[in-house]
């Protein structure tokens, strides 16, 4: 069966050019980058060259780039280690209600460890309010962490302005740019960013490789202690093939970014237009345009549940994802959809398509052929339809959950 992958926000396939760049470092040039001999030096050279490539892509200096195992680790180092290194200055951090769990759970961990966190709300497009940021950041605030682009609904946050507020108030600014690196132009200087997390597998690089940008002069301490790799911030023998792959993937992504974004945006519009032809459907997040990642289309369909849709689509060869409570481990609906004000019952019917380099217009036609029938089939067997009163179940389906913050 033909398979169509529309879950690029979850991960992307490795680009063949990246694979070719990585290959020698698995077996011919396998040296430990810390070794003095020639095996070590060729690995070291590759790591440092990669660091330069990455630095150039985001307008940083090579000394400001630290290689890690991915987005989760970068987020953890940034948040925990800024907090612990600066706790004498204040124990307050500010973040948003729509962060990835790697940030959300890390901030919650700090809350349990005596820090105070302020959770910024978002409007119905998923945008944080700059006035609220300004009010939340005080003299006691040591860190603000707001993501660049949201992984579920594709919202691009006003990080330039958030960074500016942080500079003025003397708080460090971290942004989780896992979804935006390689897709949106990043300039850490112009954007007032102190720390930035990124992960290679989201831009056609390998899994288990990422980086953290830390602006020179930022007080931070290591999470991993050991042999003092990565200038003491992140000990552990460098993942040389991963690092080489990350840099190669980023270089390609930067080169192709504008053309590819324009192409994906046209496809996203086509998908959206077709899908909204289905009755009782809507788009979650901002309209397709500058406030939204060009590859993200997050739809909602009344009266149907997302996990069932995802499996039926998968039976037709189509890979998508959902923020439905039923498809999460905790049986809670997506905290992002809740934060934009979607009631629980509507979160159930969310369906995320994230397009990528391999996506074609024909793929979109195929999806638009399959999707209406799937929604219709599930609606036929659903007790819900327009006008069905479910108020007697309100307590069960709405209030039992609800996010704590």
């Amino acid at each position: 069966m033909k398979r169509i992958y529309l879950d690029h926000a979850a991960t992307t396939p490795l680009d063949e050019r990246v694979l070719n760049a990585m290959q020698p470092f698995f077996w011919q040039k396998f040296g430990n980058a810390s070794s003095v001999h020639s095996f070590g030096t060729e690995a070291r050279e590759a790591v440092e060259k990669s660091r330069e490539t990455v630095a150039k892509a985001i307008n940083a200096r090579p000394e400001e780039i630290y290689f890690t195992s991915g987005g989760t680790e970068s987020d953890n180092i940034a948040i925990l280690e800024i907090a612990y290194a600066n706790r004498e200055r204040g124990k307050h951090i500010v973040t948003s209600k729509i962060e990835h769990h790697a940030v959300e759970e890390t901030c919650k961990f700090l809350e349990k460890d005596g820090f105070m966190a302020s959770w910024l709300g978002v409007d119905k497009e998923g945008l944080v309010d700059l006035g609220e940021v300004g009010n939340a950041v005080t003299g006691k605030t040591i860190l603000v962490s707001v993501m660049h682009a949201n992984n579920e609904i594709g919202t691009i946050e006003p990080i330039v302005e958030i960074g500016k507020i942080c500079r003025e108030k003397g708080a460090f600014f971290h942004t989780d740019a896992v979804q935006s690196v390689g897709k949106e132009k990043i300039d850490v200087n112009k954007m007032n960013i102190d720390l930035l997390s990124s992960s290679a597998h989201k831009f056609y690089g390998p899994k288990g490789a990422g980086f953290l940008f830390v602006k020179e002069g930022t007080e931070i301490q290591p999470l991993m202690h050991g042999g003092g790799h990565e200038r003491g911030l992140r000990s552990g023998t460098e993942n040389v093939p991963g690092i080489v792959g990350l840099a190669a993937a980023l270089e390609i992504a930067e080169k192709e970014r504008e053309k590819e974004n324009a192409r994906e945006r046209i496809l996203a519009k086509k998908l959206l237009k077709g899908a909204l032809g289905i009755e009782n459907s809507w788009l979650n997040g901002p309209a397709i345009g500058p406030k939204r990642l060009s590859n993200n289309v997050n739809l909602g369909f009344d009266f149907v549940e997302g996990e069932s849709m995802v499996l039926m689509l998968s039976d037709k060869g189509i890979a998508a994802s959902t923020g439905s409570a039923c498809s999460s481990k905790s049986l809670e609906p997506s905290h992002v959809l809740r934060a934009i004000g979607l009631p629980h019952v509507k979160c159930h019917g969310s369906l995320r398509f994230s397009l990528g380099r391999g996506t074609t217009a024909k793929d979109i036609d195929y999806v638009l052929g399959a999707l209406p029938r799937i929604v219709e089939k599930l609606r036929k067997i659903s007790p819900l339809r327009k006008g069905v009163d479910i108020s007697e179940f309100e307590e069960d389906i709405e209030h039992v959950h609800g996010h704590e913050h």
Partner: protein, 154 residues
């Protein structure tokens, strides 16, 4: 994540839909993840004169496991006496489906509760109580909740 049998049941569900003028109707909402299910029954008699479930249909707004267990439960219950049907429990349904993932056991509870309410509704109506199907307590007994992160991580 799901067994072959669950997937098969999901792909080829039985008894989904609605019965017009049912003898009993059970409506339940799921306090664990927020899903809804309506069960409709028609009651007949077997040769011994015992009341049996002559026909049963279900409408489900829920996940793959909810749809599969609704379908399974209705096939199991069809033809059973009302008392037998009341003895179906979540373990029996799960066993018929070669097991369910632990966090999905509550989905089978939902369909069972729906059936119980439908039978209750029928018996109440028969006993002549006023509008019994209207205001039923809709809570399922299963209230376990897991407050960890929501597992959607990309």
């Amino acid at each position: 994540m799901y067994s072959e049998k669950v997937l098969k049941e999901f792909r080829h569900p039985k008894n989904l839909g609605k019965i017009h003028n049912p003898d009993g109707l059970g409506k339940v909402g799921n306090p664990v993840c927020g899903d809804l299910l309506w069960i409709y029954i028609k009651v007949g008699k077997n040769k011994k004169g015992q009341e049996i479930i002559k026909d049963i249909k279900v409408k489900t707004f829920g996940c793959v496991a909810a749809l599969a267990t609704s379908s399974k439960l209705t096939t199991m219950a069809k033809g059973m006496t009302l008392d037998e049907a009341l003895k179906i429990n979540k373990e029996k349904i799960a066993k018929e489906l070669d097991g369910l993932p632990p966090q999905k056991m509550h989905c089978s509870v939902l369909s069972m509760d729906g059936l119980r309410r439908a039978i209750e509704d029928y018996r109440n109506k028969k006993a002549g109580r006023i509008e019994p199907s209207k205001k039923q307590p809709s809570r399922s007994s299963c209230r376990h909740r897991n407050k960890k992160g929501n597992g959607k991580s990309n």
